[in-house]
Symmetry: C2
Subunit: 140 residues, 2 copies
DNA sequence: AACGAAATGTTATTTCATTACTCTATCGGA
DNA sequence: TCCGATAGAGTAATGAAATAACATTTCGTT
């Protein structure tokens, strides 16, 4: 697997921003933040993001059209990566925080349905939008 | 609940198109198809879609930025609608067909995780993109 | 040096979604 | 009947997300 150290300049810039962010960031948001670093066009960001997602170092949140750094990047193994397991996300709509998790029961359930239906999944999206524990407490 | 018969003209036009379609359609795709019916602006379509989604008669597929008619609309009950249960989608990337399903094990799994994490879901997105049984067979 | 692969850079365009403002119809209570 | 609230509708303009097309650079290998 491509380790952090052999990412290209643009990929590193993007991943750094994502890692520092405490909420998902859109491609254009990243671009804005990286203008001072010399990035000018959306494609520069999108290409870096594509690579990072491919490597499992970042994830795209479909329901937000935004990206987050992988919370478990340190766990990645060269030969497996994130592609294998299904990753789910809990997105707090109040504070923006994203919790990345894997749930065996959920994976099993979907696999069972797919098997029965003859459907072969290539990519699975699971995203919960709601309110996190902390925000729930504050709101009470 | 608003039944089919008290939808407005625009809502009816949009729902009809979605129902006839054999694959998801984007808002602009719907707009193109409905120009001959007098629709001119994106907003007319988006407003109709918002309402249809709210009523559970249509669903938005986040990973495609497109919409489908609800496959189970006839099951809807006035007081509950689709909001309650979690709906999952299997999207064939080859033929475009979408299979809408509910899986209790998956719902339970997510509910269990949410309970443990203290997360309160408002809206859950589950979308599998891959290859359906028929396309799988043809490709073999 | 010559080559090819991967990454980069730039411009323009396409696709998706919303904001702001206006107008009209309808319904219920004062 | 008057009033205000709500909902739906129409139009124009703009913002946000993503890609197409094409030219150039970087770098390791032969
Ligand atoms: Zn991850
Ligand atoms: Zn929160
Ligand atoms: Zn449905
Ligand atoms: Zn298919």
């Amino acid at each position: 697997m491509a380790a952090r150290h052999d990412l290209t300049r643009n990929q590193t810039l993007v991943l750094d921003r994502l890692t520092r962010a405490d909420a998902p960031v859109s491609a254009y948001g990243l671009l804005d933040q990286l203008r001072e670093e010399g990035l000018r066009a959306p494609l520069q960001v999108y290409r870096a993001l594509d690579k990072l997602v491919e490597l499992g170092l970042a994830h795209r949140l479909e329901s937000l059209n935004a990206f987050v750094a992988c919370a478990h990047a340190h766990e990645h193994r060269a030969d497996e990566g994130h592609a294998t397991g299904t990753t789910a996300f809990a997105i707090c709509e109040t504070c923006g925080r994203v919790d990345e998790f894997h749930d065996h029961a959920v994976e099993e359930g979907l696999a069972a349905w797919a098997g029965a239906a003859g459907f072969t999944p290539r990519l699975t999206t699971i995203e919960l939008r709601g309110r996190c524990k902390e925000c729930q407490a504050k709101a009470a």
